[in-house]
């Protein structure tokens, strides 16, 4: 039961919200826990034991870490046990087949045989998300940022909260645990905002993403038939599809949580305004970036090895080299984990390495960049610099997503090199864009959707940069937005006859 399907939007969510709102506070917790179980069972059936097991194990080890108190070795041992066990379950379910397939390839190369039989392994819903949440909680307890939770049900409610369990955002227990357990009724404003966010998400997904999915799937289904500007165009369209789809799903998630009076962290912040790859990742899938920053980047940067390197390198090679070395030391595990987290495919690992190289280059070239940015022409026309930086970042993003969507690294490279071959238009056909599975009318809706979402992102970005606000908020405006979005989704949405329902992309991770 994904967040965009009728069963969720018209039956499940309204029923849970209604029961929750009418019930007294103590009962509301039970209602939420039951709703979480029902939601999970509807997708993963018996695999619910994995999330229950994770909750029990996290609860128990959290208490043990705290109880170890001032005995660092015992404390560390409990933490290591927890990390190894949680990651082992994740690896076993998600990466076993990937490892076996690669071992088979190696064996095939050397011996001509494939020794391992690959069997389908069912992966529990949201395992990549709730495992990171559980690890984050345990590390926070270890670092004494949080006391260990004494109430198992509270921790279970946090780990299994149905709006976040499928696609995130990856929340911190310290931020969301208490408001969730508080179980207060949503205010009228929260209900209005919740409905608005859900409709905004549906608008992005059903008007733009699901339509773009058709053309993207057509080209990725026959990658060698398309070259030049068509392949380059598809990389752009896929990036837009992924943004509309994932940020749209996040809008639905955040909107759903608001109906229970819970404010979740934002996962996107106008990513296409980024002026560098590192800034892009501070605006795109923010909760994943923050998790890696808090639990991998900073700990590695502050590790003894990094400190030692920093001290020695500063003396021997200077400040810049020391910084480059420390950054690369911390960035490497972050981006390897980022790539692997997305799934057991080489193109995801490549995607991680791609950003590791780019972010390392950003650090290496920092002095050169400073002098480039300080050029006279850019001082005279700073807008020009902004445009150049944004354009560069877009190229980086589009190229990365081209590999991200590919069915394996080989296809990614083939498509990448296809961009540099000219596309020869069939003289008997009109524009190629009309032969990719969607009608002219669908293109018109895609253009409209991109314009509306683009304009909204521009306004939000302008407001955040200047601190000013347009007089376009308040209850009456909210009503207007809700009604317009609702009408647009009903009339222009890609649902029903002629459209295929498209599953949420990140639910697969």
């Amino acid at each position: 039961m994904a967040y965009h399907v009728n069963l969720y939007l018209l039956i499940f969510l309204p029923a849970v919200v209604l029961c929750y709102s009418l019930a007294p506070q103590r009962i509301r917790r039970i209602i939420l826990l039951l709703a979480n179980a029902a939601f999970y069972l509807s997708v993963s059936r018996h695999l619910i034991v994995f999330i229950l097991g994770t909750a029990v194990f996290t609860y128990y080890t959290g208490l043990k870490i705290e109880a170890a108190g001032e005995i660092p070795k015992r404390k560390k041992n409990w933490l290591l046990l927890a990390i190894i066990a949680l990651l082992a379950v994740l690896a076993l379910l998600k990466y076993t087949n990937f490892a076996l397939a690669n071992l088979n390839r190696l064996a095939q190369f050397f011996t001509g045989n494939e020794p391992f039989t690959i069997r389908k392994i069912l992966v529990p819903l949201g395992i990549s998300f709730y495992t990171l949440e559980a690890l984050g909680y345990l590390l926070d307890v270890y670092w004494k940022r949080l006391p260990a939770e004494k109430n198992f049900w509270k921790l279970l409610l946090f780990l299994s909260f149905f709006p976040t369990v499928m696609e995130g955002p990856i929340c911190r227990y310290g931020d969301v645990g208490d408001p969730l357990w508080e179980c207060r009724r949503a205010t009228a404003e929260e209900v209005e905002m919740g409905v608005l966010r859900i409709l905004w998400g549906l608008f992005k997904k059903m008007l733009v993403a699901d339509r773009l999915n058709t053309i993207v799937a057509t080209v990725y289904g026959n990658p060698d038939q398309y070259t030049g500007y068509v392949t380059a165009g598809i990389a752009i369209f896929y990036t837009i599809q992924l943004y509309m789809e994932f940020s749209g799903a996040m809008d639905m998630v955040i909107g759903s949580a608001l109906l229970f009076g819970v404010k979740l962290p934002e996962n996107f912040r106008q990513p296409f305004f980024a002026k560098s790859a590192s800034e892009f990742w501070r605006r795109w899938h923010i909760s994943l970036g923050v998790w890696f920053k808090n639990y991998i980047f900073y700990p590695v940067t502050l590790s003894d090895l990094a400190k030692k390197w920093n001290k020695t390198a500063r003396k021997k090679y200077g400040k810049h080299i020391a910084k480059v070395g420390t950054s690369m030391l911390a960035l490497f595990p972050v981006w390897m984990c980022n790539g692997l987290w997305h799934g057991p495919q080489w193109n995801y690992i490549f995607y991680g390495v791609y950003y590791f190289v780019l972010l390392s280059l950003e650090v290496i070239l920092e002095p050169a960049k400073k002098s480039f940015d300080g050029a006279k022409i850019f001082q005279k026309w700073p807008v020009l610099l902004g445009i150049l930086q944004t354009a560069k970042t877009w190229v980086i993003i589009f190229a990365g997503e081209l590999f991200f969507r590919a069915d394996g690294l080989g296809q990614g490279f083939r498509m990448f090199f296809n961009i540099f071959k000219p596309y020869i238009q069939d003289p008997n056909k009109t524009s190629i864009w009309r032969h990719l599975g969607i009608a002219r009318s669908d293109w018109a809706v895609i253009a409209l959707g991109i314009l509306v979402v683009g304009a909204a992102d521009c306004i939000i970005e302008w407001q955040q940069r200047t601190g000013k606000t347009l007089r376009l908020s308040g209850p009456n405006w909210r009503y207007a937005y809700v009604f317009v979005l609702f009408g647009a989704v009903i009339v222009l949405g890609a649902y029903g006859a002629g459209y295929l329902a498209v599953d949420l992309i990140y639910a697969g991770f």
Partner: protein
């Protein structure tokens, strides 16, 4: 105040749905030929003013096996094929219960392949919910009707309703071995949801004094021996009329090397013509359906039949060409 604001929000949304429904539904039905995709046949039936004696429902096996205008040419039986690709019984229920409010057929032919269709409880529940919504708010079914603003000349050519829901395909994809073998992927059982819908459909036909006839179009790919045995038991249990065309392929004169366009899954024009002739004879003789070809009310049907005959002639020529190069899958004539 808080409650009022929330009630106002949802009341406003409900009003929007109702207004859109009121606007879209009549406009779409008044231009039914411009309704696209799987709603086309559904809107086509609703937009037909003349009463039809036979309505056909089912999935792709139905609209590739029985041609309404051939029934008209041979027996003067006005009919419409309401089948759509991958139709499920929830859709059949929704379609049938709506069209029976204005159509009064004597016989409903229901192709049986869809009885075995089941996508799992979650997907099917979503579909059932959608169909109930469409029943209550039919305008939502045609929500993308605005697309006809972008019609091209080519699209306009497709508007003609000469096929009455039938899909005319001239390609040949011969089947080398037409022996039916068991296929574990083709389950020979009906989901509980489908049984429930079948019972509702049977009751609906009884209520409207309509003869419900189940038929299995010839299709070695879909009808395994186990499925055919299951259907025999089912029709006995329910006391339904049933035409199993898989058991009488020789009598019909089917030749699997030239009568299918996709290796024994669906029939092409040649196969459909043979099946339609057989079904037409049966309808005229056993169900005493009258010949209405000379009735003034049905004058348009004769014109449609003329257009249909032209198309069939062209398609037969293509089919003959394909026959010479048998084994290749040709292009369909119909959209």
């Amino acid at each position: 105040m808080k409650k009022l604001r929330i009630i106002g929000l949802f009341a406003g949304m409900a009003a929007i749905v109702l207004i859109l429904n009121m606007l879209i539904d009549p406009v779409a039905l008044s231009r039914a030929k411009r309704v696209n995709n799987r709603n086309r046949n559904y809107a086509g039936i609703l937009a037909t003013e003349e009463n039809m004696d036979v309505l056909i429902f089912g999935d792709s096996e139905s609209y590739t096996s029985v041609s309404p205008l051939q029934l008209w040419q041979e027996h003067g039986i006005p009919a419409y094929n309401g089948g759509v690709q991958g139709q499920c019984l929830a859709e059949t229920w929704s379609e049938m219960s709506t069209v029976l409010k204005q159509q009064h057929p004597k016989v409903i032919l229901m192709e049986t392949c869809m009885l075995f269709r089941y996508h799992g409880i979650e997907k099917d529940s979503q579909m059932v919910l959608a169909e109930h919504l469409y029943e209550a708010l039919p305008g939502l079914r045609y929500h993308s009707f605005w697309k006809s603003i972008f019609y091209t000349d080519q699209d306009k050519k497709k508007e003609n309703d000469w096929q009455k829901g039938f899909h005319l395909v001239s390609g040949i994809g011969g089947l080398e071995d037409a022996n039916r073998e068991e296929d574990t992927k083709k389950e020979a059982k009906m989901a509980k949801l489908n049984r429930w819908y079948l019972d509702r459909l049977i009751a609906l036909c009884k209520e409207n004094d309509i003869q419900l006839v189940l038929y299995s179009a010839p299709s070695p790919r879909n009808y395994t021996p186990a499925r055919l045995d299951f259907l025999d038991m089912l029709v006995q249990e329910k006391g339904l009329d049933y035409i199993n065309m898989n058991a009488i392929e020789e009598e019909i004169g089917l030749d699997w090397s030239v009568d299918s366009y996709d290796g024994g899954d669906h029939l092409n024009l040649s196969g459909a013509q043979k099946v339609t002739t057989y079904i037409g004879d049966k309808l005229a003789q056993e169900y005493q359906l009258p010949d209405r070809s000379s009735e003034e009310e049905y004058r348009q049907w004769n014109q449609d039949a003329e257009e249909y005959a032209k198309r069939v002639k062209k398609a037969r020529k293509k089919w003959k060409k394909n026959k010479k190069a048998a084994g290749t899958i040709g292009e369909g004539v119909n959209p």
